[in-house]
């Protein structure tokens, strides 16, 4: 049992991290955008799990709903709309592909180099703030809501406005005239 408790999170992390990375690679390498969309979905789901591991339960669920259920669906719709699953480009990578990969690798190297040496103090494994609302223990969702509708009300409203504008914009852009 200690082994599970000790190694459980680590195994989960490594497993789903690997899934995410592989899926991401799949997204950028698969020729058929449909397959790419599926791979992206996989990646999102894996990342959602990783959210759960960090006590961001509400956000993990939102990720699944919005990203997976909303955005990916949208993607798939558009793919099917333009018959992209049947249209394939002649080459998948642009002319400067090799150079780009080199730069990307460089970037990755640099970022990892910057980040990997970082050491942080032991975080609180079960932060009270993540599950408390109005002083009482509740759950992550309530906690988030408590923060969201009080401290971050203005950004919330702005984002909702933004979504409205995006919606209208999408309608406008998609019009056939």
């Amino acid at each position: 049992m200690e082994a599970v408790t000790a190694w459980g999170p680590a195994i989960l992390f490594y497993l789903f991290a690997a899934i995410a990375v592989v899926a991401a690679l799949a997204v950028i390498t698969l020729r058929n955008p449909m397959y790419g969309a599926i791979a992206l979905l996989t990646c999102f789901l894996a990342v959602a799990v990783l959210f759960f591991l960090r006590h961001a339960e509400f956000l993990g669920v939102v990720q699944i709903f919005v990203y997976g259920g909303g955005i990916m669906v949208l993607f798939l719709f558009v793919i099917m709309l333009v018959n992209l699953h049947r249209l394939h480009e002649s080459r998948i990578f642009a002319a400067h592909g090799p150079m780009a990969f080199v730069i990307a690798l460089l970037l990755m190297g640099l970022l990892v180099l910057v980040v990997a040496p970082l050491r942080f103090p032991e975080p609180d494994p079960s932060p009270a703030g993540f599950v408390a609302a109005d002083g009482a223990l509740a759950g992550n969702a309530e906690a988030v809501a408590w923060q969201l509708y009080r401290g971050y009300l203005l950004p919330f409203e702005i984002v909702s406005l933004f979504l409205l504008v995006a919606m209208i914009g999408a309608v406008v852009l998609g019009r056939r005239d």
């Binding site: 997204v27 919005v66 993607f75 932060p127 993540f130």
Partner: protein, 102 residues
Amino acid sequence: MSEITTTHYLVLSAILFTIGVAGVVTRRNMITVLMSIELVLNSVNLNFIAFSYQLSDLGGQIFAIFTIAVAAGEAAIGLGILVAMFRLHQSVELDRATELSG
């Protein structure tokens, strides 16, 4: 290694981020490019969550929510553009979009 620290999350986030950027820069299919953009945003979310846990501050999660919302909006717009471009060029290859050339 049994202990998953914030650093692990940061490294993962960097890797995913880079993969997304590579995809944006490299792929000729516009859909794939948009999807790569989603990858990038997603990796940023991962970063936020990691730090939120590290600092015991819910603010990171809140911000991630907003990021997701904006990503959604942006995906919608992007796809709208794609549809318009498809109608213009009858193709979604990025190479065709040379209106900015010169």
